[in-house]
Amino acid sequence: MPLVYGSAVYGVALNFRAELERLTPPLPVAPVLYLRPRNTWNTSGAPLRLPAGESALKMAGTLGVVMGRALSYIAVNDVSVPHESYFRPAIRQRCRDGFCVLGAQSTDRVPDEIRTFINGELRCRAAIAELARRIDRLIADISEFLTLQPGDILLIGESPDSPLARAGDRVRVEIDGLPVLENEVVSE
């Protein structure tokens, strides 16, 4: 992993066309960004801790674009406490310890899709073709005001079909050509 102290992991919300179609105008103009702070960084095999008082977590299998001289790509499970409102930054919902599972290996090819499984059952196919902003457009629109440094990672979006998982569920995120991410949800 190229992650070092000072690296930033940015996520983009509402970047699937189906999500934008459901919004009440005005639609977002700039990419809707959030940060995955360092306490959220996690690895395949480690537990995902369900906070007390929550019944389920959203599992958004996604693609992480690793910045550098050439772009490379990793599998990511971008976990959150489900939330409907996008008005205020979802810090309590997204910034829990271990909520961002980052794949340890990268590929130099953009995949067609990211597949998310719960207990072995395929629950979501997130297709790159369904992104509102494709990767080159995202990087252009973000770097207009925010420089993406080598080693920074950009998560391209959460499919609106991202499934929920409960305590005891095993979650797998799969991208062709990369090792799978597998994590179990445990009660905190």
Binding site: G6, A13, V32
Partner: protein, 254 residues
């Protein structure tokens, strides 16, 4: 004690104050204008607070929030003392925000308000500029408003917590081209420093080097290219920044 991070003669140094001059870690003494001031800490996670002063919330026609309004900023948003911040062409309203910045000193998880100060390494001054033209109602305040490159001057010094007996009673102010435009006191925060550390550490782990910008009081006004903006907090520091335009940024790049 207070410490700075500076670049001098091709290297990065930590520095201390020596009768108004800087003493580098290798003992050399230099003038404050002879160095490039960097943010006084290498940042971990950078938190910022919206609407954390009752008067400011009222100024923006918002009810005081029931829960801290927290947002995050990227590490590229910081710049040091005597730095430059870009006001893009065509923007109609860019304003400063003078804020007390709290630097976390050790790992904090589920910390009580009563023990929260044990986790503070020290304090510095931040200017959390915003460009309101770009404000949108998606994860507001959105990154295009608040996490722009070099849009958050911070420094000059990290002042040890031990030297700040009452961080909740510090007068602060902003001066634009020498004229005072914002005045307040940290005593008017809605969520004080112990409350913020307790709130955040209840659901996430804080670590050494994390920074919390604690919000700004009323008195916002616009800044323009060429303005010299000073944000200062008594006992913590005086932070200077200059607003530049697109052409200057382009010429700096070369």
């Amino acid at each position: 004690m207070k410490s700075a991070r500076v670049a001098y003669a091709g290297a990065i140094h930590s520095a201390s104050d020596h009768n108004g001059r800087l003493r580098l870690s290798d003992g050399r003494q230099v003038g404050e204008g002879d160095v490039v001031w960097l943010p006084p800490v290498q940042p971990g996670t950078i938190f910022a607070l919206g609407l954390n002063y009752a008067d400011h919330a009222k100024e923006l026609a918002f009810k005081a929030p029931a829960e801290p309004l927290v947002f995050l900023k990227g590490p590229q948003s910081l710049c040091g003392h005597r730095g430059q911040t870009l006001r893009p062409r065509g923007v109609t309203y860019m304003h400063y925000e003078c804020e007390l910045a709290v630097v976390i000193g050790k790992t904090a998880r589920r910390v009580s308000k009563a023990s929260a100060y044990d986790y503070v390494a020290g304090y510095t001054v931040a200017n959390d500029y915003a460009i309101r033209d770009y404000l949108e109602n998606y994860y507001r305040p959105n990154f295009r408003v608040k996490s722009r490159d070099r849009s958050t001057p911070i420094g000059p010094w990290l002042v040890d917590a031990a030297d700040v007996p009452d961080p909740m009673n510090l007068p602060l102010r902003t001066l634009v081209n020498g004229r005072v435009t914002q005045q307040g006191s940290t005593r008017d925060m809605i969520f004080d420093i112990p409350s913020l550390i307790a709130y955040l550490s209840e659901f996430m782990t804080l670590s050494e080097g994390d920074i919390i910008l604690t919000g700004t009081p009323e008195g916002l006004s616009g800044v323009n290219v060429g303005d010299e903006v000073i944000t200062e907090i008594d006992g913590i520091g005086t932070l200077k920044n200059t607003i530049i335009g697109d052409s200057e940024e382009a010429s700096n790049v070369g």
